[in-house]
């Protein structure tokens, strides 16, 4: 069974530029999560989807971040414009359900904003 796929694995951009990250969850997993992991910290939830609906986006900085999950499968996270403080690893995870189910994480996208 294929795991959670993310691309690109690494991205270097200049500040004020846009950037997008892509995630393909495990087949059949209805719940999808985007996390941000700053250096030396644990992951922090940005947004959670149930199928195509964003059910928790309270931690998403909506002035510059956006996300979508068309057709309830793949998802894209976008930052526009990027700031220096956005440098981090962006993790995607998926789960077959909620409340106590294991979340399966992708390898992440390491973003460096210069």
């Amino acid at each position: 069974e294929a795991g959670v796929v993310q691309s690109p694995r690494y991205k270097i951009i200049e500040k004020k530029q846009p950037v997008a990250f892509w995630c393909n969850p495990i087949s059949g997993h209805n719940t999808l999560y985007w996390y941000r992991q700053n250096l030396g910290q644990g992951p922090e939830l940005l947004i959670r989807y149930e199928n195509e609906e964003a059910v928790d986006d309270s931690q998403l900085p909506k002035d510059r971040f956006s996300a979508e999950r068309l057709k309830g499968v793949d998802s894209t996270l976008k930052i526009q414009p990027a700031e220096l403080g956005d440098s981090a690893v962006y993790l995607c995870a998926s789960s077959p359900g909620t409340s106590g189910y294991e979340q399966y994480f992708g390898p992440g996208t390491r973003l460096t904003v210069t």
Partner: protein, 113 residues
């Protein structure tokens, strides 16, 4: 709100020695507890979890953790570590009936030969 504290940012240990990675949590409601492991250049993987029942939970590779409600702890232990256990370990908590994970800052376990 929930929070997780992992006091040890790094734990160096020699191969075959025992290890304990500490995790304390804060919550006013009942929680689920998790340990995730992150090997270099890989995503996080679930190591073990406590949802209910026996307070001692085990993983398939020899790790165990015990839920201690009175001390609000969920320490991870292994009686004899291997070089391959070198990784970052994250403790996490979620409220019952939710799946929002709150992670600690992680503990880097470095096993030396």
């Amino acid at each position: 709100a929930q929070s997780v504290t992992q006091l040890d940012s790094q734990v160096p240990v020699f191969e075959e020695a025992p290890v304990e990675l500490r995790c304390n949590y804060s919550s006013s409601v009942s929680v689920y507890l998790f340990w995730y492991v992150q090997y270099p250049n890989q995503g996080l993987q679930l190591l073990l979890k406590y949802l209910s029942g026996s307070t001692l939970v085990e993983s398939i590779n020899g790790f165990e953790a015990e839920f201690n409600k009175s001390q609000t702890s969920f320490h991870l232990r292994k009686p004899s570590v291997h070089i391959s256990d070198t990784a970052e370990y994250f403790c996490a908590v979620s409220k019952h009936n939710t799946d929002k994970l709150i992670f600690g800052t992680g503990t880097r376990l470095q096993v030396f030969p």
